[in-house]
Amino acid sequence: MGNDHFVRFENVDKSYDGKQLVVKGLNLDIEEGEFVTMLGPSGSGKTTCLMMLAGFETPTNGQIYLDNKVISDIPPHKRGIGMVFQNYALFPHMTVYENLAFPLRVRKIPKDEADKKVDKALSMVSLQGFEARMPMQLSGGQQQRVAVARSLVFDPKLVLMDEPLGALDKNLRESMQYEIKHIHESIGVTVVYVTHDQTEALTMSNRIAVFNDGKVQQLSSPDELYERPVNSFVAEFIGENNTFAGEITDVSGDKCKVKLNSGNEILANPIVAKSKGEKTTVSLRPERALIDPVTEMDNNHKGKIEEVIYHGDHTRLRLDLLGNKQFILKVPNSSNRMDIKEGKEINIGWNSVDCRALDPK
């Protein structure tokens, strides 16, 4: 088989109890050197996929290929895959040095060479001089860095990370995101990263696989995922989203008319729902809608401000627009618009190309 993908899931099913499928007919290709994130709500099957790749779970059906070889029959310790665990899984009875030397020692690498590798790995996460410390003497962020260094010290071609930053506080998490991203860029290792935090996924990944209900909903680059979600779930899950439910009444070229439940009609971009009479949910990003647009836009409607929320760099407005009382709008605070007040009516405009007609919810 093969097909020249570094990692390949081929029609993989997984069931734990023989009654329910946790992963359903999963197909996923990952190229060498990529940073791919599996993103999804809990219970969506992303961690199960990672565990199958690592070898701690066996697929119920289908095959997983690593470097064009079927790996189902290879036990975890022979797969040569580095792994960072959710709670770091540092060996508490070993020093930082011993933790890092463990994968080298089991591979019978001579001591002086192992010392060099450990030193290199520690410098990668800027933790030189911590060799003699016990894991318990390190802060959460330091432990995480040791765990990352340990997963890389034996030069694996593939590293799996299972929500590695989940236990850290917000600031530390953000700086670790950049750190891991830079390590990935500098050594070119393939990383498969699991998280339920979309900001994390958008910051770090080359490509993101959005999981839901045991399936990959969409696999694409962060910007593609955000700008051009292929279904309602992805649109809802990634970033903020305004939706209108309705029915397509007319399709002409790359535009369609949607009659909303409130009776109004808007122009939208037919993506999933493409033919007349189809039910649809229309998705529009908050920042794509403008107040009193200067340029010509093909959707213009009036909305009433229900709530004004100050957010520092921008202000968030909740509008009652075309029957949607949860319509969110972002206004940059530099725009000096002093007439934003609760209860005021304003003009809202957006382009039909940003307004995607997706599957009904």
Partner: protein, 415 residues
């Protein structure tokens, strides 16, 4: 910078008002602890103190022969003593005879040197015939042993108020007549064998418990809740059954016509007329004690294993360690605190075990505690029983000390 005294708002030094504020809490704490403290004092400290005291107490004979020992004080123990010593013996024995309490000293003196029994009995019987004056001659006439210095030396040796002779007896040693320590005769050396057997049984029972408990504890710690609860009940069930009942059921199982022997015969491992003896020997002690002490090994092991995250073993494997290497280098070292606690607990319990060896051990399977019980109940040599008990206590404390040096008591985890 000089340290100034900080005053609270009403002008009292802060330190003082803090103490005042905390006094009530301290008093409450003391009162809460007091019942347990008293209980420990009454149930443990006093009896153990009394036991220690009894094991070295030798004042009884001193009190019963006060004049004799006073008169003997200046005697060098070479030649026969002079008249005053015999006079003192006469007066002491006369007093004892009048009060009918001389029986007590016979056993004690006979222990010092055999032959005293008949000597004292005969002397007391003929005490009335002794006339005043020239006691030495009359004594030797009653019994020729009064003319042999070794008996009088033995008598003098019994004089000190305190004696560690019982401890010597506990390790098959004794004082000979010139107060030097020698081993007892070969055929009377029974306590060393007993000590060795006790330690041996405790060691093997600990080892068997460990071998059996480790996998069970691992299973308990890793199984899903609903199975592990069931298994836990199975482990604890014998815990809730009376010790006597459990031991008795082992007697039913292990007896020569019992089910285990039936099974052995049925399989063909032994002939029907040549059934192996599984009870009233060391085998019975091993089997029953291992089963009874097993929970004491399982519980500390389980509580330690429960805290070991399963991701550690996964991490070991993902880093390239085979399951065996990951177990030896990662899992096993992390369970050492539990192993230490379990082994210490089982060993200490096993070394002083009483009921089980008494019931299924027979002669070759009885342990030091059975001997202590024998001396408490049957031979009534409480001093010796106390000495053996003290030696056992010191032994256990020594094990504890060694363990602390090797592993560190802080590393023990009982849960």
């Amino acid at each position: 910078m000089s340290r100034e005294q900080i005053l609270s708002s009403d002008g009292i030094p802060l330190e003082q008002s803090l103490k005042k504020a905390e006094r009530k809490n301290k008093l409450k704490a003391v009162l809460l602890v007091a019942p347990l403290f008293l209980f420990i004092l009454i149930i443990y400290v006093f009896p153990i103190g009394d036991m220690l005291f009894r094991s070295v107490d030798d004042r009884m004979i001193t009190k019963m022969l006060p004049k004799t020992f006073q008169a003997m004080e200046n005697w060098d123990g070479q030649e026969l003593p002079d008249e005053p010593v015999y006079k003192a013996i006469y007066e002491d024995l006369k007093y004892l005879k009048e009060n009918k309490t001389y029986g007590k000293i016979i056993a004690r003196l006979n222990y010092e040197k055999s032959g005293f029994s008949s000597l004292i009995k005969k002397t007391v019987r003929k005490l009335n015939k002794i006339e005043e004056g020239n006691y030495k001659e009359q004594f030797i006439k009653i019994h020729k042993r009064w003319g042999q210095p070794e008996y009088l030396v033995a008598l003098k040796n019994a004089a000190p108020n305190w004696s560690y002779a019982k401890y010597l007896k506990g390790v098959d040693m004794r004082f000979d007549q010139d107060r030097s320590i020698v081993q007892v005769e070969e055929d009377r050396r029974i306590y060393k064998i007993l000590w060795m057997r006790t330690i041996n049984v405790a060691f093997w029972v600990t080892l068997f418990c460990f071998i059996l408990a480790y996998p069970i504890s691992h299973l308990l710690a890793t199984l899903p809740m609903k199975y592990s609860n069931l298994l836990m009940i199975c482990v604890l069930l014998p815990f809730w059954t009376s010790l006597l009942v459990r031991t008795s059921s082992w007697m039913v199982l292990l007896q020569q016509q019992g089910p285990i022997n039936d099974l052995i015969v049925w399989i063909g491992l032994a002939a029907d007329d040549n059934r192996p003896e599984l009870m009233y020997n060391v085998i019975g002690t091993f089997v029953a004690m291992t089963q009874i002490l097993l929970p004491f090994m399982v519980l500390p092991l389980y509580s330690v294993m429960k805290t070991i995250s399963p991701s550690l073993m996964r991490a070991g494997k993902s880093l390239g360690g085979t399951p065996l290497v990951s177990f030896v280098k990662i899992y096993f070292p992390l369970t050492i605190p539990g192993i230490g606690a379990g082994c210490l607990l089982v060993f200490i319990l096993a070394i002083g075990y009483y009921i089980t060896p008494a019931l299924v051990g027979g002669a070759s399977g009885s342990l030091i505690s059975n001997t202590i019980a024998y001396h408490m109940k049957s031979s009534l040599d409480w001093a010796f029983a106390s000495a053996l008990g003290t030696m056992l206590l010191v032994g256990v404390l020594a094990i504890y000390w060694v363990y602390n040096k090797l592993v560190g008591i802080d590393n023990i985890k009982l849960g």
